[in-house]
Subunit: 124 residues, 2 copies
DNA sequence: TCCATAGTTCAGAAATTCGGAACTGTTGAT
DNA sequence: ATCAACAGTTCCGAATTTCTGAACTATGGA
C-alpha cells in the first residue's frame, strides 16, 4: 500500500476543492468529519441514511478529499483516522469552506467561528 | 434550436455551482463575464491567452454555466449576450461566489461589494 | 437569394467514474 | 506461529461523461 499523499497547503488548488465538494456524498462525509465526536473512520461514515456507500467508492471519496487537501488521513492501528484541514484552508482561501457548507445547509456548529461572516452582535 | 433553459433561483443547487466552477476555463469565462465592459458574447471569451477554446467546447461551457444557474443567456440578433446572476446568487448562497472567485484570484472590481467580507474601515 | 457570422448539435474517441471482487495490512485469539 | 476477522485499498470491466471536429441552424446584411 503506497503511503498516503497530502498536498502542502500552498499546493492546494481551488479547482480540486470545488470538484471534491461538487459531490453531495463527499460533502456529507466532509461535514460529518468536521463534527467533533465523530471518530473519523471511513466505515463510520458510509451510512448516508438513504444509501450505504460501497467501500471501494468510499475509499475513493476519501482519496479525492485527501488529495484535494480537504482532509488528513492517518492510519491508526487497523483503521484510518480522518480529520478536516478547515483551519489551514480558511487561512489560504478565506471564507470558502464555510460558504460552501452554508450553501449545502451543512455548517457544523464547530465551524461557526470560521471567517466569512461578521459576528451577529455589533450589527445594526 | 430548443429554447435555453435557466433554472429558477430556488432550483439552483450548490453541487451544480461547484461543479461548474471546478473547471478553470469556466471560471475564467465567468470572471470575465462578471467584468463590466465585456460584451458577454461567447466568441469574445474564447481566447484564454494560452489556448483558444474550440467553439463546440465553448458552447458546452456556456450550457453548463447557464444550467447550473450561474449565468443568463439571451439571443440578441446573431449573437448571444451572457450575464452573470451574481446578485441573485448572493442572496441565495451568501458569500459563495465571492469566496470562490477570491480563491481563484479572479475577483473582479465590480464584485467587491458582494457579501462575504466586512468593510476594511472599522476594523481593529 | 446568397453569403458571412454566431452558436448549437451530432457523433465517435478518450477519459473518468462506479462498484464488486480480490487483495493488503493490522490486531487479537488459539 | 497460525489463523480469523476486520478496515481499507487496489484492480478491472462496465457505464457514464467529456471533448472536439464536422455538420447544421439561425440571424442579419448585401
Amino acid at each position: 500500500m503506497r503511503p498516503l499523499f497530502h498536498p502542502a497547503l500552498e499546493d492546494i488548488r481551488p479547482e480540486a476543492i470545488l470538484y471534491a465538494l461538487s459531490d453531495p456524498e463527499r460533502v456529507a462525509i466532509f461535514a460529518k468529519l468536521a463534527t467533533a465526536g465523530c471518530g473519523g473512520t471511513c466505515s463510520a461514515l458510509a451510512d448516508l441514511g438513504d444509501r450505504i456507500i460501497p467501500k471501494s467508492s468510499l475509499s475513493n471519496h476519501f482519496k479525492v478529499l485527501r488529495e484535494s487537501g480537504l482532509i488528513r488521513s492517518e492510519r491508526q492501528g487497523v483503521e484510518m483516522r480522518n480529520q478536516t484541514r478547515c483551519a489551514e484552508l480558511d487561512a489560504r482561501f478565506p471564507g470558502l469552506i464555510r460558504s460552501i457548507l452554508v450553501a449545502y445547509g451543512q455548517l457544523p456548529a464547530q465551524l461557526e467561528t470560521m471567517s466569512g461572516e461578521e459576528k451577529s452582535r455589533d450589527r445594526r
